[in-house]
């Protein structure tokens, strides 16, 4: 049998035949797919609890409270007589915001003065803060506009002119690709790519540390191995990136063709990187722990959750050497945003460059090691 075919078969056996490697690659798929998305199943934040401190107790303050309570984002679930009691509720995490309507709210409005309302939102939770602010700002603005228009009409301005003067243009916001701002829709497509890379690298690195010597030139051996990876992940990649998202009810816009075209260099690059990690650490157990610890930093380095605009340039340059960085960007754009291959050509080239560069490095390392072994054991 040719060295290429031998290496191909040996790698297939090493991944699918070894109990531990098989467990990492296959069991991880099932368990990660169940455990990881668990926190995000609820998708949306509705009716975030907010405390109302109504020091005015007037018709106008009750009207404002009713409007805020009716918004989808927040619900006025508690009432407190003062800020001290309201803050205590926030500390206990029973509420995430306080709306304070000061004494004299209605009187100031009737007099035609400005009548401010204070909103305290818990900024320890970014999402909660956003929802509380959103939930209160829209009704406040609306009530303000009605009052301004009412005053103009009272001064004798025609109704249509008054409305146009209060809000001369209509602001429309159109969120694309994740219109409902669902958290699972946002985070899972990227997380699945990262989990795929980490489990794949763990399995392949473990297989690499346990590999015995094989015949033939390193080029044939490496090509044989790469063929085995492609054969295995041609099945696993669509499971992670198409089947799982469909099971979780995530929208999918992209076609499988573009997905596989991006997946090809991604699998190769991650496989080669796994060989290098294995050569660096040698011991299988250590490799697993290191890759485990690197998962979160890799995710945040990819520039998906934490915008790339905010990552320091030198760290971002290092991040480009990790296959997940371009892969998360490219695959999310293809599956969630319906990008075509020409639209993400730079990402595709980036992944191929990584696959090529990492492949050559592995080849250099293995050629040197074969040469050294040859010196030690002259056959």
């Amino acid at each position: 049998m040719s060295p290429l075919a031998t290496a191909f078969r040996a790698e297939l056996a090493a991944v699918l035949g070894d109990k531990q490697v098989r467990m990492i690659v296959l069991l991880a798929l099932i368990l990660y797919a169940v455990i990881y998305p668990l926190p995000y199943r609820a998708e949306l934040l509705r009716d975030v609890p907010v405390v109302l401190v109504d020091q005015d107790g007037s018709t106008a303050s009750a009207d404002l409270a009713r409007r805020v309570d009716a918004s989808e984002a927040v619900a006025l679930t508690h009432r407190a007589p003062d800020m001290a009691e309201a803050t205590r509720l926030v500390h206990e995490r029973r509420a995430y915001g306080v709306m304070l309507i000061p004494d004299g709210f209605e009187r100031a409005l009737l007099r035609g003065d400005q009548s401010p309302v204070a909103l305290y939102a818990d900024a320890s939770y970014f999402l909660m803060y956003q929802r509380v602010m959103q939930g209160a700002a829209v009704p406040l603005r609306q009530m303000g506009a009605e009052i301004e228009a009412g005053r103009l009409i009272a001064q004798g301005t025609p109704r249509a002119v008054a409305t146009a003067q209060v809000s001369p243009a209509v602001q429309v916001e159109v969120p694309l690709f994740n219109p409902a701002a669902g958290y699972a829709t946002y985070v899972l497509p990227a997380a699945f790519v990262l989990i795929l890379q980490q489990t794949m690298m763990m399995g392949l690195a473990l297989a690499a540390t346990r590999r015995g010597p094989l015949p033939g030139h390193p080029v044939w051996r490496l090509m044989g191995r790469a063929g085995a990876w492609l054969a295995i992940w041609a099945g696993l990649l669509p499971i992670y990136l198409i089947v799982l998202p469909v099971l979780y009810g995530l929208p999918i816009l992209g076609g499988p063709g573009a997905l596989m075209m991006l997946g090809l260099p991604f699998v190769l690059a991650a496989g080669f990187l796994a060989q290098l990690v294995a050569a660096l650490f040698r011991c299988g157990e250590v490799v697993q722990v290191v890759l485990l610890a690197l998962g979160l930093p890799f995710f945040f380095l990819s520039g998906f959750a934490w915008p790339v605009e905010a990552i320091p340039a030198h760290l971002n340059a290092v991040a480009q050497l990790i296959p997940s960085t371009p892969a998360i960007d490219g695959l999310v754009r293809v599956t969630q945003m319906g990008a075509t291959l020409p639209q993400i050509a730079p990402v595709l080239w980036h992944l191929w460059a990584l696959a090529g560069g990492l492949g050559l490095t592995v080849l250099a390392v293995e050629t040197r090691r074969t040469a050294r072994q040859g010196h030690r054991l002259p056959t």
Partner: protein, 383 residues
Amino acid sequence: MLAVMAREIRLLPRRPALAGLVIVLPVIMLLVLGGIFRAGIPTGMAVAVIDLDRSDLSRAVTRMLDAAPELTVTHRASDLSEARSLIVSGAVRGAVLMPPDLERDLIRGDRPEIVTFYDNQHMSAGSLVARGARNAIDTALAGLRLSVRQGQGEAPVQAMVALQPIPMQAHALFNPAFDYVHFLLAALIPTVLQIIAAAATAYAVSLDFGPGRHPRVLMRMGGGILPAMLGKILPYTIIFLLILGLSDVALYGWLAVPLRGSLWLMALGAVLFVLASQMIGALAFVLTRDMGRAASMIALITAPAFGFMGLGFPREAMSTLAQAWGAAIPGTWYVQLRIDQSLRATPLDISAMSVLWLAVIAGVLAALILAQLSRLARQEAAP
């Protein structure tokens, strides 16, 4: 027990893999995570403008957009499909459409639409773009409304007051600078440390208690399996606490995260957290007696732990099952304690609950390890 501890510390420099895991890896993680978030709040997101009006007004809005700290106008698109393509390819994160005759319709009082499109798949960046655009357009329109009122003969101050009958005074509780970095880092560092502490402890235990090893030597040295186990674990507890302390010095010193609560409660929580994380590793190993399988077990519990802590998607909004799973992980309570005591200045009686939970988790884990160890000892005694 002290003899076992002394031996463990003496052996550490001779085991480069272990020393790398417990010292080098956590320090690198600290540097990388600190580096990623050092810049603080993201600014200058690229947006495109589709200006079909080309009037003074549309140019003023474009200027306002570019002046917003969140945004930079990098592209001008001639139609919607061009803008969409720019968003899909990642060249920009959003686009603002100003329709033809915007200025004329606005002066006539026809209330034309200004539309902001933004990429909400990348939600963190997208919501920043939406906020930046909303504020910029509001500012541009407020300027217009002000000049209309002044044109009608109102004094500037009076006109300003009239524009906003109910102004909202927004206060960001516990985080006045609205710097989310504090919270992310305060949670990410314990999450990564939890993974490393569990895995490294399992690995250290495997070196003496694994198949083909001779735990008897250790047991004789320590006088029993419990002191032997403690002597094995405690040196790493000290190392991890030192690393946690180092990260705290960096966070509260270098990055100037406020520290408003009780240091003692935080320190007590840190000791319980490190011990509980280590015991996850020790338990995984004594249950499986195989480092590979133990590592997979540790991975399942600690790797997805970040999501369950509720920093991104809050715990209170999760399903009961997800809340329960999160409650069983030590990191969840430790991160809550850290945030409560460092930033929120939570009253001690509320925060004590987190410490209590940590103690319960540590106690249950210790009991499980002891039960399994005594079972193994009985198995070895019976030939």
